[in-house]
């Protein structure tokens, strides 16, 4: 194993070149998104027993935080790696989320959710260290963003699991989410919600407001999916309303950012 690690670091591109910090324009600073995401996620999971609509809607700020972390790391020119980093987030996240659900057998839901998020962050940090030190990706923010992405993925997945199960306990989640196979659709909805916003807005004129409004739109689709999977009309309607609002915001930002929005036209030859 050690020899393989050394070999990997030997064949990876040389580490002599300087890593450069890239300035990413932000309208909302990351710490606000982290705070909002963690708070809403843990409160949402804790109140799942009141009504499943609470964790379903609480997943939206968590997904916005995760999408913003993807945006910060993908600003280094990941390109086709943007989708991959989303899967990585949920790959590590699903392990931590399952452990958190299992922990509800011995402790309270909020503590289990918090421990799950911290564990997700630890898995993310480990992946970040491997990416930067072993594979030698020249991205200074890799460890930090990888930690945030996996933590956000864990929290978002736990929110959706709680929304479908109606409670954040092992017996409810196992019988309604894992045994029924619904965990597959929740996994992929979370993964796409994390990676799609930045992937869809990729380009030189990308702005944080537009990407985050799209993250809210994707989060609403995740809430709708949770409503469909649990056949709960209130979750479905709440998700639908959130989708309408967030899609409208995305459309407003798209019209603001685009060079022009026209009904039709013959393409000009650019200069």
């Amino acid at each position: 194993m050690l020899a393989r690690t050394l070999l990997l670091s030997a064949v990876a591109p040389g580490g002599e070149e300087e890593e450069e910090e890239v300035e990413v324009a932000v309208a909302i600073p990351p710490w606000k998104l982290i705070l909002a995401g963690v708070a809403s996620g843990i409160v949402g999971i804790s109140l799942a027993w009141v009504h499943p609509v609470i964790p379903a809607i609480a997943a939206i700020p968590v997904i916005m935080w995760g999408a913003d972390a993807v945006r910060r790391v993908a600003g280094y020119g990941l390109g086709t790696g943007v989708p991959s980093i989303g899967y990585m987030g949920l790959g590590g996240g699903s392990v931590a989320a399952l452990l958190a659900v299992a922990m509800t057998n011995v402790t309270y839901a909020p503590i289990a959710a918090a421990v799950g998020t911290v564990l997700g962050a630890a898995i993310g940090a480990l992946l970040g260290v491997l990416d930067r030190r072993v594979i030698k990706m020249k991205i200074p923010v890799m460890e930090r963003c990888s930690t945030e992405i996996v933590a956000a993925g864990t929290l978002a997945l736990m929110c959706l699991m709680a929304a479908v199960a109606g409670d954040f306990t092992w017996s409810a989640v196992y019988s309604r989410v894992i045994r029924t196979g619904i965990i597959a659709v929740l996994w992929v909805a979370c993964a796409l919600s994390l990676l799609h916003p930045y992937n869809a807005c990729l380009g030189p004129s990308e702005t944080q407001e537009r990407t985050l409004s799209l993250a809210a739109e994707c989060g609403s689709i995740s809430a709708i999916v949770a409503g469909l999977a649990s056949a709960n009309p209130i979750v479905l309607i709440a998700g639908g309303i959130a989708w309408l609002i967030s899609f409208w915001k995305f459309w407003v930002y798209t019209k603001r950012d685009a060079a022009d929005v026209v009904w039709t036209g013959v393409v000009p030859k650019g200069e």
Binding site: G181, A184, A191, L192, L202, E206, L214, A258, V262
Partner: protein
């Protein structure tokens, strides 16, 4: 040895897989998803404004995992909680998934073109609206075939996995086959048709995509028209054979199956080679015309 029922079921699954593969490729071509997407994305930077649909929803395997999983989950919910028969439940599942599919497609196209504002590329709304129908339609047929496959496996072959999980796994598989086989037929050949046979495009020419169609300005629908003749059926055939081959070991024995697969693969190679040679000799290279000759300038 497997029984006749299993062979019949596997043949039906092979047929469904063929339909799923063919329509999956058609759907990805309408949106220039996966491989051709980076070239369509690069075009505005090279000042080649276009009317292609830029549908960047992750890679095909994961996006199809979502379509399969959403349609499979809704179908399963309709069957178990509301007692609907499979076909009615599947119709609802595919319909619901089509709406989510269209939402993702719209945001992907709008987001990518809006982010090309620095180069002055406008968003054409008629491109969005005219392409959404075929995207949802082709995607719907592919998704219906995917959940039918999963349902056959779940109900008739008694697979231990639940229906939503099987639908998600079949979605990944069809996406992977569509991405690996289908993209070959809508990559360099189609997007770089104005270079001789589109093959071996140098890096300097990346983003310099073909903008003129047989009539008018090219859009992504023209690519489906092109791919539906060979690329889409071939993708379907590939996926159908993968499903069908898996039972051949039971029919012909282990080595018999390997030899049968080799023969079929060799046959496909020879046919592909002959068709390409025939097409090149008969149709020749791309003939350039002025844009004014194919459409009126506005």
């Amino acid at each position: 040895m497997v029984g006749l029922t299993e062979i019949g079921l596997t043949a039906a699954m092979g047929a469904l897989a063929t339909i799923a593969g063919a329509f999956e490729d058609a759907e990805s071509d309408v949106g220039s998803q996966s491989n051709p997407n980076s070239q369509v994305q690069l075009a505005p930077q090279m000042m080649n404004f276009h009317r292609y649909f830029n549908k960047a929803i992750s890679g095909e395997p994961v996006s199809y995992m979502m379509y399969g999983a959403v349609a499979g989950t809704v179908t399963w919910v309709m069957m178990t909680k509301f007692g609907l028969p499979f076909l009615a439940a599947a119709a609802i599942g595919v319909g619901v998934n089509a709406l989510i599919h269209m939402a993702f497609s719209t945001t992907a196209h709008l987001g990518r073109i809006a982010s090309a504002a620095e180069f002055g590329h406008p968003i054409y709304l008629d491109v969005v609206l005219s392409h959404l129908g075929p995207i949802a339609g082709f995607g719907g047929i592919a998704t219906f075939a995917i959940i039918s496959l999963a349902y056959l496996q779940w109900s008739a072959l008694k697979h231990p996995f639940p229906l939503p999980l099987l639908a998600a796994l079949w979605g990944v598989t069809v996406g992977a086959i569509g991405s690996s086989t289908g993209d070959v037929h809508y990559g360099a050949e189609r997007l770089y048709q104005h270079y001789p046979f589109g093959g071996g495009v140098p890096v300097a020419a990346h983003g310099n995509i073909t903008r003129k169609a047989e009539t008018g300005i090219r859009n992504s629908m023209d690519s489906v028209y092109f791919c539906a003749k060979f690329g889409c059926p071939l993708t379907g055939l590939c996926f159908g054979l993968v499903v069908f081959f898996s039972t051949w070991a039971g029919l012909f024995g282990q080595w018999g199956a390997v030899i049968a697969m080799l023969l079929v693969t060799l046959g496909c190679l020879i046919v592909s080679n002959r068709i390409e040679k025939w097409a090149r000799e008969n149709y020749g290279t791309y003939e350039d015309v002025e844009l004014d000759e194919i459409c009126d300038a506005v």
